[in-house]
Homo-oligomer: 190 residues x 2
DNA sequence: TTAAATCATACGACATATTGTCGGATAAAT
DNA sequence: ATTTATCCGACAATATGTCGTATGATTTAA
């Protein structure tokens, strides 16, 4: 008998959903398998047919999310003449906001932030090198700098109550990218 | 009989040290109290005289670290005419590198990064406002941007094998602060 | 078309590990 | 000698991971 992908996929999804509900409100170390299966409506043993432990659920979830993130930016990241694809990154974050705010939030996974950067950086690097940029420590660290700032800002913005509009944010980020932090701070002095 | 601060402080420290050894190599959710007390040479029950659970150890450790970080930058952050205290932040990170690389690393605590920013940002903001900067969304987000980038870069640098020298890094960060990411990326084109 | 065989899916039960909370042993200070 | 801070041993409750097995759907053969 062949596996029935429809059924197993559904069960896997139910378990993952239940995990995600819990993970949204508390750190992974305080989530028990009993809680997950109870919420999803399965026997606790069934969990072990799909995952090895609680961390495994998160890992598989992150993998599929990283894959999705990889699909989109390929074109967008390299399209415009802009050396830094500000709006594409904002759009990317907004589209997956539901997961990213949690994974990058207070009891999210720090390793995930590194993985995101590691998956986007080579794409951007390639594009820039083709455009004539010198590939070395400076390029690598400049991209690390920019991506860290972007992720930090977007996580901050999407967790905030009275958040500024996307337009205002985009405009500010554009200024920071071209003027630099110091330029902006000097400009804020009257 | 009065409490003997010397003894309890020592026990607390031993337990914290043992916890830290474990935390340096695996996520907090996989650390058991049994492991901690075994490594520190105490009975498991003794742990509960000092901490409520494993997360409590981390929390107390973070609190004392945040306090230490608060002490230093007060003067340094507001001293120079520079609107952004690049070198002070690099020095601050280097001094507490041992803890920061772990806490900001792959199985560190995302909430800690937010806490660091939240503790440093008001100090910087105050200084800048005194110097005439307008206090609003732009200032707040600019600082969030800069601190995210700094923390991201420094964590990256201090986890790297063949890391660039502090001088090269300082120089690059200076350029990024004054030229912006785009300015730097344009400059890298030959 | 029907009936039997087969196998994927989910479950119940077991042994072991971890947790949190007692009351009590020990040793040091008064 | 008495008191009490510090640490420990033992207990009940909960969580973990791994079995073998029931169920029910699909395949195979009559």
């Amino acid at each position: 008998m062949k596996k029935n992908p429809a059924i197993t996929a559904q069960t896997r999804q139910n378990l993952t959903d239940a995990f995600w509900q819990l993970y949204s409100s508390k750190p992974i170390g305080k989530i028990t398998i009993k809680e997950i299966t109870a919420k999803a409506g399965y026997n606790r043993s069934t969990f072990y047919e799909y995952f090895t432990d609680v961390y495994d659920v998160l890992e598989q979830l992150e993998n599929s999310l990283i894959s999705k993130l990889q699909e989109v930016p390929m074109q967008q990241l390299s399209s415009s003449g802009d050396p830094f694809p500000l709006e594409a990154l904002i759009r990317l974050y907004s589209e997956h906001r539901q997961y990213l705010t949690i994974l990058l939030g207070d009891h999210g996974d720090p390793a995930f932030q590194r993985r995101i950067k590691a998956s986007i950086k080579p794409l951007m690097k390639e594009t820039l090198v083709v455009q004539g940029a010198k590939d070395g420590f400076e390029l690598d660290y400049t991209l690390e700098y920019a991506l860290s700032a972007m992720i930090g800002i977007l996580s901050y913005r999407f967790n905030q109550e009275n958040a500024p509009s996307i337009e205002d944010l985009t405009s500010l980020l554009g200024e920071l990218s071209s003027e630099g932090v110091i330029g902006k701070l000097m400009g804020l002095r009257e």
